[in-house]
Symmetry: C2
DNA sequence: GCCGCTATGTGAAGTGCTTCACAGTAGGCA
DNA sequence: TGCCTACTGTGAAGCACTTCACATAGCGGC
């Protein structure tokens, strides 16, 4: 199994597939590089490809009528960008921007759907994964309705730490997990201002739950954060 | 085509299926009745059936740690309750309560998955539909991040009017559409208090866009509402 | 080593929504 | 018929978060 195949095995959208299916898909892709800041695709574009991040990271961004931006997701190696467009044929609902120098495996719509029709079992795995995704989004939605910024922030920090752990080793969440993100970024993920996020982070820091430094947040006491959230 | 089959043709989850697939699924179901207020299933229950509303309506409700409730969805005839659990095997993420006297077609997990394995094309249709659903939820999420109550409320009123239209005749959205819901219900859908919703509705009414009465909202000028939202 | 950019930290004023408190009203039902 | 309950309408006080304004600090490039 080569680099590409190993990679695909780990991506959430496809993780549940049998190995030969994965191999077949990997063989169809083409690797491309993106410099930091490159726009991979923009909101409204026709969605004709799937991108699987190999290295680096990709920000998924939506923008409001007034030009504000919200970061919907930050995807790292092994994760999947632009999968929905391949399944339903709709235009992109968000833009994707390389957050650092990144490489991705690009699979076109034709390649993907040829692959999918040849492997009916893959469709079941995808159904399962998509439905898990609906659940997660629904949960985020109710969090918005019920929780204040402090609690949403705590949850998000744990999520981000977990996502990083998934990509690297997959042990339990150890104290000391370091999340690389700016406070402005966190704000845009949480639908809050940078200033509010800063004040809240400093409260957590005063509790001794996290440590702050330029460009990153370190979880000192994930357990405490979890009970709080 | 009998009542059951006609019904299934119109449900969002299954609408894109070929007719014989629909017929096959309909034949497997069993019709059940629920008195107003009956709990059909509860958050945390194992999810072993799919419910397709035949008549009446069903509220999908999640509750927070503090016991507050939010109405995630209000599903009418032709809509699908508890579909996710069948696809991913997870427990119910929300409760379903009959909002009035209702009847539903119940399909068990075994029946559903036997049906699905026999019909590979159905899986593609479901993938497409589910991915549309992810998009809608994502949109709701960004609305929460960007929009204030007034705009979210305007959008929701239009959505509700559209959903009703889908179920009845499927023409354009005519002025005069009447939405049956209390203001408390609207609040719980929007993550806002009843009082705020009331004040906002009255602002819309003063503009002449809607008319209020006990237990319902009537859209007088959907176009104006749309440009506002 | 210094300049300039970007990120962080923090206070003051403003705003949108909540909660509370209460008054009015429509409709179901005894 | 009249009562009771659920829904609607509204003002006042409070709170969470925003916006604005500015100070400070790390870091890369020259």
């Amino acid at each position: 199994m080569n680099e590409r195949e190993e990679l695909i095995r780990d991506i959430p959208l496809l993780a549940r597939l049998p190995e030969d299916d994965v191999r077949a898909l990997a063989s169809r892709g083409r690797v491309r590089s993106y410099a930091s800041g490159t726009v991979i695709f923009q909101e409204g574009d026709p969605g004709d490809s799937l991108y699987i991040v190999i290295e680096g990271s990709v920000r998924i961004v939506v923008s409001s009528a007034k030009g504000e931006e919200a970061t919907v997701a930050l995807l790292g190696p092994g994760e999947c960008v632009g999968d929905l467009a391949l399944l339903d044929g709709r235009p992109r609902s968000a833009s994707a921007i390389a957050a650092e120098h990144s490489r991705a495996l690009v699979v076109t719509r034709e390649e993907f759907s040829r692959w999918l029709t040849q492997r009916p079992k893959a469709a079941f795995a995808l159904l399962e994964t998509l439905s898990l995704r609906v659940r997660r989004t629904d949960e985020a939605l109710t969090d918005f309705a019920f929780l204040d910024l402090a609690h949403r922030l705590a949850k998000r920090l744990l999520d981000l730490a977990n996502a990083q752990r998934d990509v690297q080793a997959r042990g339990a969440l150890a104290p000391g997990a370091r999340i690389r993100t700016t406070q402005a970024e966190l704000g845009s993920m949480l639908g809050a201002s940078r200033e509010s996020v800063n004040k809240q982070l400093n409260m957590f820091a005063r509790e001794g739950w996290i440590a702050l430094s330029r460009g990153s947040v370190t979880l000192l006491d994930p357990e405490a954060l979890r009970t709080f959230a």
